[in-house]
């Protein structure tokens, strides 16, 4: 990421780590991603009574290029998901995502066609905050916990080692793309169907057809 990544392991790295992490957590700049009711509570957290300025966070950056924390506040609809991803991609590293409210964390009370059931379907999330909407104190608590999490992040060599260890433990991506969907594994007939389709090279088509048939 920067020069801090290249410091060799040792006492120097630990000190640099502490310094860098401290500076990262102390001046979080949130990107405005207020969508619905949680956005109003987020604004209230930034307002006079529950002041986010106490932690240097009252500057909500309009441009994602200048922000490092994306607080996804509110329900993410199907139409909004690509926009969310684009804003996330536009943010430079290091960046963190805090999904505020149950709608952002898991779809909330809206178990329907229009809402993405959790923004972790679209962006990687560092902190989940339940609530409908979460009180400003809850948001502040989540931010403080996220700061603690950042303080503990390793850098440089130690970070690379940590990532390698995790990959070894959990393996490469949990499910390889294009593999048999889990709903097919437990049903013998479907599994046979899928394997036949794989031989013919039309497994995607089969999946779509099955879904359409199920809805008839």
């Amino acid at each position: 990421m920067g020069i801090e990544e290249k410091v060799p392991t040792g006492i120097l790295l630990t000190t640099v780590e502490k310094l860098v992490n401290w500076s990262r957590k102390s001046s979080f700049w949130p990107a405005t991603f207020g969508l619905a009711c949680c956005a109003i509570e987020m604004m209230a957290t930034g307002a006079a009574r529950y002041d986010l300025g106490r932690w240097g966070m009252e500057v909500f950056r309009a441009s994602p290029r200048q922000a490092d924390l994306m607080i996804v506040a509110g329900r993410v609809s199907q139409k909004m998901a690509p926009v969310l991803r684009q804003i996330y991609d536009q943010m430079p590293d290091p960046k963190w995502v805090l999904s505020m409210g149950v709608c952002a964390s898991s779809g909330g009370m809206f178990n329907n066609y229009a809402i993405v059931q959790g923004v972790d379907h679209v962006v990687p999330v560092d902190m989940y905050l339940p609530g409908c909407p979460p009180r400003p104190e809850m948001l502040i608590d989540a931010i403080l916990k996220l700061r603690e999490k950042i303080m503990a992040e390793p850098l440089g060599d130690r970070r690379r080692k940590m990532i390698a260890a995790q990959e070894e433990k959990h393996g490469k991506p949990v499910v390889a793309p294009g593999s048999m969907p889990s709903s097919y594994v437990y049903d013998k007939a479907r599994r046979a169907e899928w394997e036949q389709a794989v031989r013919e090279g039309r497994e995607e088509q089969l999946r779509i057809e099955n879904w359409m048939r199920r809805n008839d």
């Binding site: 509110g74 909004m80 009370m109 809206f110």
Partner: protein, 439 residues
């Protein structure tokens, strides 16, 4: 078409004064830059779009030639979800549509359900008074957010802090009454879910004490200020014909001159018994809408005071046990739950009460088939609820005619021909809330 050279007519004929630029363009009389069409995409993620509104502007210099609005970025499918829940559970969903005015969403829905049930006259007086009280407090808090965000967008950053500071007080009152700061499922079909605690009445009186002074402060801060006036006077004008044709209601219509307020013209919840005026202006610009909303806040304070004065002890839920939400909540040893008296009653004393409680909570009450349309005056305009029942315990179809959805159609009418900065001011003056718009 701006040209590089200014021309004036003299006795010799037309004289051009050339101060720079290409000779050929001067001679041919047109400026290449002015022919360029610039398309700017504003949003959906943008600090001044009041949520997730997307505006696609075609600019010629600083002038806007065309505006297209794209909505739907917050579509939640609430209306479809309502068909899969009880009539009472509907309140919790409906409250999250227009999230700055949750009491209004709930009130509209409950008025529609009560009309379908035929119990509109049986709703107790105290429940109606509390509903009016909560709705007017919500109107004040919604207008405060409007003032705060509009001030922020037009550059009056301190207005944001003042608006939210006052709103916190109102949210405290809501929290005392319903348990939540926002999205309270407080107004239920048949009445309200909980009675008003004495602490809340005290707080409201306190609020009435200091709020008029604060409103005066905001007026002093903004109304006479030259920058505010220049940015809002004569900007984004929409006259009555335009408003009616586009279906715009609420403060925007009243700022254009027509005093159409559903609380006065088609009253509900006992509004005809309260004394208040309907503030109107005639200019139809952003400044007029700002003044109308400020005055509306003052009228709401009047109504709140009258409502407090006429609060009498009594039930807050309809008497019909087959419809009334059974339990009163209280804080016990393990948190908030059914009050001990209620549990003693249903478990020990009355079998019928137990049966009613059980059926209401698991199944819900049944609403005779038919359809109704109930409209109330929300802070943004006419909030209409079209509810269709097929005789069951779940709504068959509930459609919300949300004022933000309809008002946003007016953005091209307000913005085209004006400057880019006026689009922001005009859009802000419509007070759109995307949750209500997209539902």
């Amino acid at each position: 078409m701006t040209s590089y050279a200014e021309a004036r007519e003299t006795t010799e004929g037309r004289v051009f004064t050339v101060t720079g630029g290409d000779w050929d363009t001067v001679v041919s009389g047109h400026d290449p830059l002015s022919e360029e069409r610039i398309v700017v995409n504003l949003g959906p993620q943008h600090p001044s779009t009041h949520g997730v509104l997307r505006l696609i502007l075609e600019l010629e210099g600083e002038t806007v030639t065309e505006v297209r609005t794209v909505v739907g970025y917050l579509h939640t499918g609430i209306e479809k979800n309502l068909e899969y829940r009880n009539w009472t559970q509907g309140t919790t969903f409906v409250t999250r549509m227009d999230y700055l005015a949750p009491m209004f969403n709930e009130a509209g829905y409950c008025l529609a359900v009560e009309k379908l049930l035929g119990i509109s006259d049986e709703v107790p007086k105290r429940a109606n008074t509390i509903r009016v009280l909560m709705m007017e407090l919500n109107r004040i808090s919604s207008h405060l957010v409007w003032l705060a965000t509009t001030g922020l967008e037009l550059g009056a950053l301190s207005m944001m802090l003042y608006g939210f500071r006052e709103r916190e007080f109102i949210l405290d009152i809501f929290e005392l009454t319903s348990g939540l700061r926002m999205n309270h499922a407080y107004i239920r079909p048949g009445g309200v879910s909980q009675d008003l605690p004495d602490e809340a009445v005290k707080r409201i009186r306190e609020f009435l004490g200091f709020m008029p002074k604060r409103l005066k402060e905001y007026e002093n801060l903004l109304s006479g200020q030259p920058i505010w006036q220049q940015r809002t006077k004569g900007v984004a004008v929409l006259d009555v014909t335009g408003c009616l044709a586009l279906g715009v209601t609420g403060p925007v219509l009243r700022s254009a001159g027509l005093p159409w307020d559903l609380r006065k013209t088609m009253p509900y919840c006992g509004y005809e018994t309260y004394e208040f005026d309907v503030p109107t202006r005639t200019e139809g610009d952003v400044y007029a809408r700002y003044q109308v909303r400020l005055d509306e806040m003052r009228e709401s304070l009047k109504i709140v005071e009258q409502a407090l004065d006429r609060l009498e002890p009594g039930p807050v839920m309809v008497a019909n046990r087959k419809i009334a939400w059974p339990a009163q909540l209280a804080i016990g040893t393990d948190g908030l739950g059914n009050s001990l008296e209620h549990i003693a009653k249903i478990m020990g004393q009355s079998m019928e009460a137990l049966i009613h409680h059980f059926k209401l909570v698991t199944e819900g009450f049944r609403v005779p088939p038919g359809q109704v349309y109930v409209a109330i005056e929300a802070p943004r305009g006419e909030l209409g609820v079209h509810a269709v029942s097929d005789g069951g315990t779940r709504p068959y179809r509930v459609h919300y005619r949300d004022p933000s959805f309809v008002n946003l159609q007016a953005i091209p009418a307000l913005a085209e021909g004006g400057l880019l900065a006026d689009v922001i001011a005009g859009g802000a003056s419509l007070d759109p809330v995307m949750g209500g718009c997209d539902r």
